[in-house]
């Protein structure tokens, strides 16, 4: 009997989520990768020139080797070098599109939140309506109207991605509006515009920046998807999506390395961005710790 009582309880893991690893260890690897990617994307094109017209059939379709780490494509161009250029194009599209959608979203969200009433309700219903159209389809429609091009892709991404920013800014503005310092500013004689630019927007800015950062990988993903469908950037512009689209043909003759590099590079960059912004998000919203621990 005494034996039974003293038996140790079976080990159970049904406990609260263990606390996340210390932010530094979550931040450091992602930050380093992101810095390396940024440096490579910025500096390599200054040092090594990519000639899209360059063709060297003698070294075409070579598997990865010491000279060409990720092999060469069907025209003898180095896959890795093209990838660096492609990532540059894709990231540019992503960053510009994310910035535009953040601007549009902030404007709509701030107007809806500060004017309120019917105006707010109608704007938010419009946001809901746009949110119910699948993003990629809406993007395809916009590209079809403007014809596939760099600006069409950026516009189509920006027009489908401002909704998140608008919702965030609106809810932030709504909660800020009830705070005493806003009342103080209004009592002190500040105009609507002053309240908006001096008090509301600066307080919303961190959340908007975070949302914009999180939007960049999404926008890049969108660009690659459109380009992959043949509705994105023109075929000669090497973007990640175009490269994967080109590589599709080479797969049939066994050229796996042509699609490996662009995909891996995209995954690594995306993971690094979400790693960094995850730590950032926890710091901004300590209560809503959505970042999963692992």
């Amino acid at each position: 009997m005494a034996d039974l009582l003293w038996r140790p309880a079976p080990r159970s893991r049904l406990t609260a989520a263990s606390p996340p690893r210390s932010p530094r260890w979550r931040l450091l690897p992602s930050a380093i990768i992101l810095a390396v990617v940024a440096l490579v994307v910025l500096i390599v094109p200054l040092v090594v020139e990519l000639n899209e017209q360059y063709v060297d059939l003698a070294i075409a379709n070579q598997p990865p080797s010491a000279a060409h780490l990720f092999g060469t494509d069907e025209l003898g161009r180095d896959v890795l070098l093209r990838c660096v250029y492609a990532l540059r194009v894709s990231l540019t599209v992503g960053v510009v599109a994310a910035l535009i959608s953040a601007l549009v979203g902030t404007a709509v969200g701030a107007l809806a939140g500060s004017i309120g009433g019917w105006f707010d309700r109608i704007l938010m219903r419009v946001v809901d309506a746009i949110a119910s159209v699948p993003h990629l389809l809406l993007g395809i429609v916009i590209v079809a109207i403007l014809r596939p091009s760099l600006s069409a892709v950026i516009i189509s991404i920006a027009l489908t991605h401002w909704l998140t920013a608008a919702r965030i800014v609106r809810s932030e503005v709504l909660s800020l509006r009830t705070r005493p310092f806003i009342d103080a500013a209004i009592v002190g004689g500040a105009s609507r515009l002053q309240v908006m630019t001096r008090h509301l927007l600066p307080n919303v800015a961190p959340q908007v920046l975070l949302a914009t950062t999180l939007m960049v990988p999404h926008a890049v993903w969108h660009e690659t998807a459109l380009s992959f469908l043949g509705l994105g950037l023109p075929p000669h512009a090497a973007s990640i999506g175009n490269m994967i689209n080109d590589a599709q043909r080479s797969l049939l003759i066994g050229g796996w390395w042509m699609s490996l590099a662009p995909g891996l590079l995209l995954i690594i960059t995306t993971l690094a961005v979400s790693g960094v912004s995850g730590v950032w998000r926890d710091r901004l919203n300590p209560k809503r710790r959505t970042e999963l621990t692992w």
Binding site: S132, P134, I140, A247, L266, W294
Partner: protein
């Protein structure tokens, strides 16, 4: 109870109808604002040889020079009567184009979605149960990696490995060569596209189930069950999972747009005869009759999915009031 759910469903429907109207009208305006003239598209290069009378007659027949609202009203009247117009790129009525392809897409999406759900439940539960073990780490780690990978890239990788190298499974279409469509043949052809769609959608569910389970482990009824000495597997399946699965239902609806997007890309990789090919063709050829119909339809599906998810949620959890 049932009555309030019915009312809530009606309210949702009342929101869905104006949304569909607004979306279709916006598409219509966009199409009109584009520099493309459907009559010129119809003639193509032949417009040089066509007589001006014939061109003028066609313009008259199609009503392209009427005001946008009048044209939209005409389109809407016909659409409600089941006539969605003709697809310029495929030279077929739009309803025929969609009718031929929709079944294939629905098949792919429904099987893929079910598989993703099962994967999400099983792996998510395992990961939460064995919190911080190597199993948890590998499941969550690969989920993050899979979430970052573009679905078409995954598709190409799977295609290369299983269809081109190992030659285990066919890598495209629904039939091999000229053999007729058969249940067994389709089932074999479906394996790879369905697997890729499910694997690309699953990570989100896995991470969600894991997170919710971990949160429910600290809830009173779970602690109570553990205190009564119930074994872990009973606590997880009988107590923790029940409460943590409720929010899962609403997510099913929220996930539909992603699912449709994923299906478009997977279909393209595996040359699946669904609506993806038609969508891309329509976009490249500025075929607004088809593209618009497809977009409005997809929006309708999303709205319907949200409605269903809400109703399911209310049925599963009587505490939820569906007002708002």
């Amino acid at each position: 109870m049932t009555r309030s759910i019915g009312l809530a469903a009606l309210r949702r429907l009342a929101f869905a109808v104006p949304v569909l109207l607004v979306v279709s009208f916006a598409l219509f305006v966009l199409a009109k604002a584009s520099p493309f003239d459907p009559v010129e598209r119809y003639f193509g290069v032949r417009i040089i040889g066509a007589s001006p009378e014939r061109v003028a007659q066609l313009r008259e027949n199609w009503g392209v020079d009427e005001p946008v609202v009048a044209q939209y009203w005409a389109w809407l009247r016909h659409a409600l009567a089941g006539d969605l117009g003709d697809s310029l790129s495929l030279q077929q009525p739009v309803s025929a184009v969609i009718g031929d392809r929709l079944g294939w897409t629905v098949l792919l999406v429904s099987v893929g979605f079910t598989l993703a759900l099962v994967l999400g439940l099983v792996l998510g539960t395992l990961a939460a149960w064995r919190q911080c073990s190597w199993l948890d780490r590998s499941i969550t780690g690969s989920c993050y990696a899979l979430e970052a990978a573009p679905v078409f890239w995954l598709g190409l990788a799977v295609l290369y490995i299983f269809a081109l190298q190992l030659r285990w499974l066919p890598g495209g279409g629904v039939t091999t060569g000229s053999e007729p469509v058969s249940v067994g043949g389709v089932a074999v052809h479906m394996v790879l596209p369905v697997a890729v769609l499910a694997i690309s959608q699953a990570p989100w569910f896995v991470l969600f189930v894991r997170q919710n389970l971990l949160e429910s482990f600290t809830q009173d009824h779970v602690i109570g069950a553990r205190a009564r000495g119930l074994p872990d597997h009973l606590v997880v399946s009988g107590h923790a999972l029940r409460t943590s699965l409720l929010p899962f239902l609403t997510l099913l609806g929220a996930r539909l747009p992603e699912l449709i997007t994923g299906a478009l890309l997977v279909e393209t990789v595996f040359s699946w005869p669904g609506i993806a090919r038609a969508t891309v063709e329509a976009a490249l050829n500025v075929d607004f009759a088809l593209l618009g119909a497809l977009t409005v339809m997809a929006t309708g599906v999303v709205l319907l999915g949200n409605l269903l998810a809400d109703v399911l949620y209310a049925l599963a959890d009587p505490r939820v009031a569906l007002d708002g």
